[in-house]
Amino acid sequence: MAGAYYDIDDILAAQERVPCVLQVDLDGLGSAGSGGASKVHRNARWALPLWMADGLNEEDFVAMEAPPVFSRRAARMYAASPESIQLRAVSQHFYQLGLQLGDMVPDVPHVLRSMYTQRVQRIARIAQQGHNVETLDFVQSLDRTEAELLRLCQRAQGAIAAWQQGRAYALRRAPAIQ
């Protein structure tokens, strides 16, 4: 698991749950898992947040599995129509999550890469031409990384026009001397 220590999106992405298989018997921790029993047996399945799962995985308490959003079936879906996937519904931190556990599933980096390249071009188009009813679906499907990118691009695109119309200056006449 690699992440930037201070990156808030990285931290939030580590909250996403991943399926784990318990490797040991645990006494008195039934309330933490799915069952209500006081003892949890090995091979029970738990969905743990990534930050916890990663640590426990290293210590061999659990075996971490790839979450369903990175399964082969999902990957085929992403490859088929990258622009119509509702990424926000899949995960708010889709790419960050992919970056953190992508090396668990060999194909994921390639799938993410081609998906990202295609979606970024659509984002660039929207930033330049402004968005309308047709692009609404796409804009709403962006995950946080992409939404942030779109926002920055729109701001940068507007900068030249705003400056040409004289709206770009930080200094203004104070109301008192107007």
């Binding site: 980096p109 984002i123 990384t145 940068a156 770009a168």
Partner: protein, 215 residues
Amino acid sequence: MATSEAQQEGFTMPELEYLAQCEDVTIVPLHRMERLELVRGAVGPFRPPQKTQVPLWLAVMLKRANRCRIVAPAWLGADHLRALCREEDAPDALFTRLPPHYLEIAHALLAVAEDDLADAQAVRRLLQDLRETRQTKTREGLKLLNSLQLQMDNLSAAEINEIRPLFGRSFDMLRRLDALAATAADRAHRGSQLGPADDSQYADDADDDDFAYAR
């Protein structure tokens, strides 16, 4: 953080305009004036009707005081711009050659020295056309996005600034995904019984690749 978000992502337009003020333009002084010792070097002496090179900010100041006439740069002529527009519009054409601060210089000259430009209205319109064509082309250029480089020659400072966040962010993401793909492939190669690879190690490898390419 003390800087605004717009400043963190690159230059703001007023900053670029400020930088453009140091570009030289040619003027014809209307009054005699001695040499001016400026921090960047001396300009003048001004002997009408001898042409002199001065920085843009000084030209604008003198023009406002009605002490000079600004000689429009060759690229700001309507005919030249028309030719550039045609060239720019041609299929598969690269970006045409323009000064790196052409938008800012044109903006300043059109604001204060409209009377010194032949056919200022046409120039204004042609500049707008040119910019729109170039903008479309920039977008086409982004289709070639990869994690190593993006080449668009003759893009001006303001135009680079316009795509900076998009390019910077996506470049970063692609680079990280590539590094990840490399580790994943590496691990598959070595067999899955090995532990996770050292993170810092693959980050270094990726940097080396970029560097080698840049050289």
